[in-house]
Symmetry: C2
Subunit: 234 residues, 2 copies
């Protein structure tokens, strides 16, 4: 997978995804560079190429002189950890996956779970929207989301599904560990997933309006969970 940008490289170097090659702008060679020191120290392969080649590699001229070819590795189901886990029930838009990953990490989530089929996977554009954070949070691909929900319940997680018909998030205590399932952009949660959830919750609307963008909903719900779980403020 090709990704680009200096911040994204920083995230790559903190992650467990193997780097095949870091491509740097030629003039990086001729000046003192902390970046190169760091790459040497980490035994990370790098090479210098002209601007034109960088733009060719990533399809974007504004790449900050850094393009990375990495081997993205999905995490194993055994790596689902932490007291807050996010499951995505067939999200289609890479922008939503990217924004949700960034928000989930910021709220202290330990993993993101996506189904293998009919779901967006980790793509370069999702990584870009996530500001590289998709490389830092474990992303687990499962064949059967309802079965993963069962597993989480057995492990003691209370599994919430986001659904317009649910009870208000402000009425919930959110005792950890919890999992949050977010549905597809148009369709919401699938029938079986909805049945499997311990409880359905909703963001209350203060105007005559049906729903929010799924990444905005995710932000409001995850931070309300975090506020109560971490006992922050009032």
């Amino acid at each position: 997978m090709i990704v680009y940008g200096r911040n994204v490289l920083e995230e790559v170097l903190k992650s467990h995804h193997p780097v095949k090659m870091v491509y740097l702008r030629k003039d990086e060679k001729d000046r003192p560079s902390q970046l190169i020191e760091k790459l040497k120290k980490l035994n990370c392969p790098f090479t210098f190429v002209p601007d034109k080649k960088l733009a060719e590699l990533c399809g974007e001229a504004k790449n900050q002189g850094v393009v990375v070819d990495l081997e993205f590795r999905y995490a194993d189901e055994s790596e689902i950890k932490g007291d807050l886990v996010v499951l995505l029930d067939h999200i289609n838009d890479p922008h939503n996956l990217g924004a949700i990953a960034r928000t989930a990490l910021a709220a202290g989530a330990g993993a993101i779970v996506i189904p293998k089929d009919r779901s967006v996977g980790v793509t370069p554009s999702a990584v870009k929207v996530s500001a590289g954070t998709l490389l830092r949070i474990p992303v687990v691909k499962v064949t059967n989301l309802p079965r993963t929900i069962d597993d989480l319940k057995e492990r003691g997680y209370w599994v919430y599904g986001a659904d317009m018909e649910g009870t208000s998030i402000y009425e919930e205590d959110f005792r950890p560990p919890v999992a949050l399932v977010l549905g597809n952009e148009g369709e919401g949660l699938s029938r079986l997933v909805k049945q499997k959830c311990d409880q359905l919750i909703a963001v209350p609307m203060y105007a005559d309006i049906d729903s929010l963008n799924v990444s905005v909903s995710a932000g409001i719900i995850l931070f309300e969970m975090a506020r109560k779980m971490r006992k922050v403020g009032r």
Copy 2:
């Protein structure tokens, strides 16, 4: 401005934006249609055209057989009202404008204020992302955002600016009326706007991460304001 989709038309009809023409798929003529009854009742001009023409008009084949040509009208500065107002300090991405408008309306905001220059305006794609809600909330275009902040302060609004260095939103009481200023995607709040704000506030992060997508931040902050202002839940 050309917009499309059945839900968007519903929003148009609830709004004050004059409709130049509603284009409907030809077969709508040959069956009982509540939509046509409604358009007749509202004295709204409509006509029937082939699918191909609809796709041509809006540049999208998935238009649900409804394309609307309307005259979008920005609201006047005197129409800034309600106990919650959102100001956007040079937002560039129409997706962010659309998602923020939808969230602002859902949180009970009375108006959105954008600057005339170096800011995205209301475009068809912003309307689409907002699910038509950009047509329902007054959008005010001002020449000088810092002056509008001064005006709001004179009218009794407490003006908050979203900034990483601000105090936690969970420490604030948010006594209405309040205004929230959100900064540009990359740069944040501009220097002068930051100075003009009564107070800077931030969403606390639970991991080593700099910031959230601006529309996600907007959602978390606006719904925390609404929760406290409307005294909802605990």
